[in-house]
């Protein structure tokens, strides 16, 4: 029994951390611009395809892996920047339905573009030998790459929190997030901040796509798969809260792994149950509005 619980705990964290990595960019963008971006899934998918393209399906060395990730993140960041200028910037003043739909339209567009560029055949990215395989800890088998992902997720969570809390960019970002007009009236380049945040959020999606691609079939059906989960994490975590997103992702991962282990019948529902309960009991999310608390 203990072994099972421990195993579920470990696999829950291993399930949740990749979700956090995907959702972190979405959380960032939502926190500053209040945009729930459907196209985030397409950003993720493009990251996976680019990573595959750079490395040709084989991950030779750790430096190549890093180069691949950088290229995926930077390129997708650039796509994000273009989307911000071409689409989202024009919609910040509009209601959230319009923005959601615009991002959905962008998802469709990018999805179609990916099919045009890469075709429809699924691809596969081989794992770096150093990260392949698994080891045992307290009788529970743990995949080496899961440990890598957990590490990356932790670094991202800490790094993003420091960026937002400790740097001048973070201060400016939080000011723009809370009150764009006042920030501009002080002389802050709100538009520049929004552009930077959108690009950074997209880059995080691209990074996630590259990072998680060795575990997935890389094909055009990838775009929507993480969108609903990422939305759920942003909502459950408390809109825009990075810490909340981390906890929400881990919570959803743990719920899923415990459901799979102990209540297989509920497995597919765990995400929905979590979201429903959190929204009904605490509509502002676990860490409601911690990013930039609103007075109203």
């Amino acid at each position: 029994m203990f072994g099972q619980i421990f195993a579920a705990l470990v696999s829950g964290i291993a399930t949740g951390m990749p979700l956090f990595i995907v959702a972190s960019g979405l959380t960032l963008i939502y926190g500053v611009m209040r945009v729930l971006n459907f196209a985030h899934g397409a950003f993720f998918m493009i990251g996976a395809f680019l990573f595959y393209n750079v490395l040709g399906g084989v991950t030779g060395s750790i430096s190549l892996l890093i180069v691949g990730l950088l290229i995926a993140a930077l390129s997708v960041g650039a796509i994000g920047a273009v989307s911000e200028v071409a689409v989202f910037r024009r919609l910040y003043a509009r209601d959230h339905t319009t923005t959601l739909l615009a991002s959905y339209a962008l998802l469709l567009t990018l999805d179609g573009l990916v099919q045009q560029i890469w075709g429809v055949s699924p691809r596969s990215q081989t794992q770096l030998p150093a990260f392949a395989g698994s080891f045992q800890i307290l009788g529970v088998r743990v995949a080496t790459y899961d440990v890598v992902l957990i590490g990356v997720g932790a670094v991202l969570a800490i790094g993003l929190t420091l960026l937002l809390q400790r740097t001048s960019f973070g201060q400016t970002t939080r000011a723009v997030a809370h009150d764009q007009t006042m920030a501009r009236a002080l002389g802050l380049h709100a538009r520049g901040v929004q552009l930077a945040v959108f690009a950074l959020g997209a880059a995080l999606a691209g990074l996630a796509g590259g990072l998680i691609s060795p575990l997935l079939s890389i094909d055009p059906s990838l775009a929507p798969t993480f969108v609903v989960q990422s939305f759920a994490i942003v909502i459950v975590g408390g809109l825009g809260s990075m810490g909340g997103a981390l906890i929400a992702a881990l919570l959803i991962g743990l719920l899923d792994s415990f459901a799979v282990t102990f209540f297989p019948g509920f497995a597919g529902f765990s995400l929905y149950i979590a979201v429903t309960l959190v929204l009904l009991l605490r509509p502002q999310g676990i860490f409601g509005a911690a990013f930039a608390s609103r007075e109203a």
Partner: protein, 339 residues
């Protein structure tokens, strides 16, 4: 800003569009009836074979889009779960198929199931609004659609095929032409009902709720109740649309419950313009036809569809029908205020 919204709200309540300062006016109900009769008569002449079938599909989506717009355009509620109520109507018809009830009764039951489901959901979810509410509707829709695979009676991925169309007043709906007339009659009656609702005090109270919930409640409107009623009405009409759809297609399948369908119906409203009566209807027709035409004429319809949608969202915030006041304004008033 507020005044503009107010103005729009009043226009909406009285059924006027900003452009139409017409000296003469056809009664709104008559206008709707006339359009439906004209379309109904022209339809079978203009369309044959599979295009008539497509036109019937479009007609049903017109009803579905109009029902969704009760939330979206009238009340300002975003729901990403309307497919659940549409699907509920369709599956009701599928489950009733073995009993061979008359088609109209099937529609009534489908409407009731859609309405009850929507009412229960909105009662539970009532304390949440805005994006969170939209998220909750998405989760609700996805959970319901997951149930289709878990409850064996609902047929899993194959759904409930082989639904007969039945007969009405002794006339079989088997041929696509008779079904067209049937669909025209049902959607026409409901379109008139929707038109009347829109001009009623109920419609006006929804507009007030949309524009300013605080002021609405200060005016004595029960905001929560209005939202629940709007949601229930939308669920009821979506249920009818879904039931019709199942009768037309002869199958209730799980894909109609997917969140993409919920997204598509919102897109229909947006394409046409959600602040006009005709907007969702025109959006539904364009969407259905464009979707069909694109899927067989290009290898990546998503690309063109996405681009088209982006253009509409960015350039025509009030949808295609937003063009009408834009053009008439440009014609009558040349002078422009510098911004």
């Amino acid at each position: 800003m507020t005044t503009q919204l107010e103005q729009r709200g009043q226009n909406l309540a009285t059924g006027k569009t900003t452009s139409a300062k017409a000296r003469w006016r056809i009664p709104a109900t008559l206008e709707v009836a006339a359009v439906w009769i004209v379309v109904g008569v022209i339809g079978p002449g203009l369309f044959t074979g599979s295009t008539l079938f497509l036109a019937t599909t479009a007609l049903i989506f017109v009803l579905f889009a109009m029902s969704t717009n009760v939330l979206l355009g009238w009340t300002g509620i975003t729901s990403f779960g309307q497919a659940a109520f549409f699907g509920a109507g369709a599956y009701t018809v599928g489950l009733l198929a073995p009993i061979a009830l008359p088609p109209l009764i099937q529609l009534f039951v489908g409407a009731a199931v859609g309405a009850i489901l929507a009412m229960i959901f909105s009662l539970v979810a009532n304390r949440v609004t805005g994006v969170e509410f939209a998220m909750l509707t998405l989760v609700f829709g996805e959970s319901i659609s997951l149930l289709l695979y878990r409850i064996p009676a609902l047929g899993g991925e194959s759904g409930l095929p082989g639904i007969p169309r039945g007969a009405i007043f002794g006339t079989s709906l088997f041929s696509d032409k008779t079904f067209w007339w049937y669909a025209i009659a049902i959607t026409g009656v409901l379109a008139i009902v929707i038109r009347r609702l829109r001009g009623s005090t109920f419609g006006a109270s929804l507009t007030a709720v949309r524009d300013n919930p605080l002021r609405a409640s200060a005016l004595g409107i029960n905001v929560k109740l209005s939202r629940i009623v709007a949601f229930t009405v939308a669920g009821l009409l979506a249920g009818v649309a879904g039931a019709l759809y199942a009768q037309l297609q002869g199958i209730a399948s799980p894909d109609i419950m997917s969140w993409t369908v919920s997204g598509e119906v919102i897109i229909m409203c947006l394409i046409g313009g959600m602040h006009t009566y005709w907007g969702p209807a025109i959006g539904a027709v364009i969407f259905t036809v464009a979707n069909w035409a694109l899927s067989n004429s290009t290898s990546s319809p998503e690309l063109y569809f996405g681009l088209g949608l982006l253009v509409i969202v960015l350039v025509l915030p009030e949808g295609l029908l937003g063009l009408v006041p834009m053009i008439s304004k440009r014609m009558t008033r040349r002078q422009k205020v510098l911004s």
